[in-house]
């Protein structure tokens, strides 16, 4: 990234210098021929080319100032977490922090699972099968961040026995799917895998 950036900016700077020199050169010529009413098409082209290149140059100069705000290398480095789930009892949830966000790990009861599986997909705001949201139907693993404006929903609450977000009243079902309220989509499923029966790796 950095060497290609250096290359790009160098090329742009050289091009701008070249344009500047030809601009000066042509201007002198045009001034010489001013009396002869020589049209300045060559100048028009140079103007356009200079502005266009100038804009690219400013963009290239500003980009590092903008990009520095994106997640940095140290933030990105914390990309995976391993969690021991052997202690989670049936019908219990643990919450772990992954990339600064809570992740819910819920060991669902049989009743919750069948409730989640038996919903008619046409009733859903963001239709998705329960099977597509879990790797093992007992374990529901999802980011505990309301897809509305990012609050943490409360478990075993709300009209659908799943989660309820206190901030602006979004109701999620036992599969974490949005059923009612302002949130547009289901609770997100992070990338995770079962390392063995008792451990999952998130990220």
């Amino acid at each position: 990234m950095s060497s290609s950036y250096a290359f790009l900016t160098t090329v742009i700077v050289l091009l701008i210098i070249f344009l500047y020199l030809s601009w000066v050169f042509v201007s002198i010529k045009v001034v010489d021929k001013e009396q002869k009413k020589e049209t300045s098409e060559r100048r028009d082209f140079l103007f356009t080319a200079s502005y266009a290149l100038g804009a690219v140059g400013v963009g290239a100069a500003v980009w590092p100032l903008i990009d520095q705000m994106n997640p940095d290398a140290s933030v990105k480095a914390l990309a995976t977490t391993e969690v021991d789930i052997s202690t989670v009892g049936l019908g219990k949830t643990i919450t772990v922090l992954w990339r600064g966000k809570p992740v819910f790990i819920r060991r669902r009861t049989q009743e919750e699972i069948s409730k989640a599986q038996n919903v008619n997909l046409s009733e859903l705001i963001d239709p998705q099968k329960d099977e597509d949201r879990v790797k093992k139907s007992e374990w529901l693993i999802m980011t505990g961040v309301c897809t509305h404006l990012g609050c943490v929903p409360l478990g075993e609450k709300g009209d659908f026995g799943g989660w309820f977000c206190p901030c602006h009243g979004s109701h999620y079902d036992t599969s974490g799917r949005i059923r009612k309220g302002p949130a547009p989509t289901n609770l997100e499923i992070p990338k995770y895998e079962f390392v063995d029966n008792n451990t999952i790796k998130i990220g």
Partner: protein, 414 residues
């Protein structure tokens, strides 16, 4: 703006002023002709300038002790409160100062609405004012995040997530704003940097605001154009300064009343709990001065829709000079507009109340009606009134209503 050119008395003054005309500027402010009928609603500009300076001074001092890091910020604010000499005072001045700043700006804005001060030739003054207001909201929001309490954290989360509603690029924008995958330390440090910067941008805009004001001069309660300087005006110093000062003193008494006796009523107790990304407080609310917009956001049952409508509620004010079709400025001479003005005031207060309540049942319904009315006021009522309303004849001079001479009222309807 006296007619003859000002020349400083002393030789040194002349020497300096011919090189940098600061004395001419001071003289201009001194002599600036002001309508003689300005009432107390006109004192809030001065109050606002004063509070901007208070915020900058107390903020500079807080920044000497504050640490912008997710692990240390909360502790450093407690350190300011307990250990730093007079730290409690400075922090309470800064926190309550921000509330008083907003109280003053709302009065100032509604003053402009009542007396039609946004109309030609004062559109630029109004638009710069709106930009100041936008920057104030951004500044106060980021300041509120700095103590890194529960309310700070979740306000930051909810507000930055508004941008996630933007189609396609929403998620990239939020993670760019956060510098991570959620609100965290990188977010806090950049908010501190910007919270430090913005007040100085506001300061610059205030200078432009006053510059733009000094071209046409002040509007006045009667709202008619007057000749300046003339028998209708008084010099800014001492007449207006002394009035501004008196109003400022009264306002300061209220301000210090908050600071010394109830410094935390305007805040939220949950902000004395350190930020915890795992638990959202059961009832989160923004600071009182943002409540009406929060109510508007929540009254729309759709994510993108809510965000769009909320921003529209702020930006529609920018277009006010062109939405208002009436030629008469002051509501004093607009019997219908006067009524609608007060309905709007009540509507905004109702929205503020709803914003503090949970979004369910009756509250949701009232919130929706008030939101709709807010827009109807600006988009339907204001443009229509200009055509339908029969206004009261305007006086020819601002002295006439004072002297109570009805015969001098101009008979033509403007």
């Amino acid at each position: 703006m006296s007619e003859e050119k000002y020349v400083p008395k002393s030789k040194l003054g002349q020497w300096f002023d011919s090189r940098l005309p600061l004395l001419t500027l001071a003289h201009h402010i001194n002599d600036y002709p002001t309508p003689k009928n300005l009432n107390y609603w006109w004192t809030f500009g001065g109050i606002l300038t004063f509070f901007l300076i208070i915020q900058i001074i107390t903020g500079l001092v807080l920044a000497m002790h504050y640490v912008a890091h997710a692990d240390l910020a909360f502790g450093s604010v407690e350190h300011i409160m307990r250990d730093v000499n007079y730290g409690w005072l400075i922090r309470y001045l800064h926190a309550n100062g921000s509330s008083m700043f907003f109280l003053a700006v709302y009065i100032h804005i509604f003053r402009a609405l009542f007396y039609g001060s946004y109309k030609a030739p004062r559109e630029i003054i109004w638009i710069i004012g709106m930009l100041i207001y936008l920057l104030m909201m951004a500044t106060a929001f980021m300041g509120y995040v700095l103590p890194w309490g529960q309310m700070s954290f979740w306000a930051a989360t909810v507000i930055t997530n508004l941008f996630s509603a933007i189609p396609l690029v929403g998620d990239s924008i939020t993670s760019w704003l956060w510098g991570g995958y959620a609100v965290g330390s990188p977010t806090l440090t950049r908010f501190f940097s910007l919270h430090y910067l913005f007040p100085f941008l506001i300061f610059g805009l205030v200078i432009l605001h006053i510059w733009a004001l000094h071209i046409p001069g002040n509007n006045n309660p009667v709202g008619i154009d007057i000749k300046k300087p003339s028998k209708e005006t008084v010099p800014f110093h001492p007449y207006i300064i002394i009035k501004d000062f008196y109003a400022l003193l009264i306002f300061l008494i209220i301000f210090l009343g908050f600071v010394f006796f109830v410094p935390n009523v305007l805040g939220h107790p949950d902000n004395y709990i350190e930020a915890n990304p795992m638990v959202t407080p059961s009832h989160i609310v923004p600071e009182w001065y943002l409540l009406p917009f929060y109510a508007i956001l929540r009254s729309v049952p759709d994510k993108l829709g809510g965000v769009v409508v909320m921003f529209a509620a702020v930006f529609i004010l920018m277009f006010l000079p062109w939405l208002d079709t009436s030629k008469v400025r002051s509501a004093v001479f607009r019997p219908l507009y006067k009524v609608f003005f007060w309905i709007l005031v009540i509507d905004v207060i109702v929205l503020g109340y709803i914003g503090a309540k949970p979004p369910e049942g009756m509250y949701l319904i009232i919130g929706r009606i008030s939101t709709i009315y807010y827009f109807v006021h600006f988009i339907v009522i204001m443009p229509l009134l200009g055509f339908k309303e029969k206004t009261i004849p305007l006086p020819l001079s601002i002295s006439d209503p004072v002297l109570g001479d009805e015969s001098k009222l101009s008979s033509e309807k403007q």
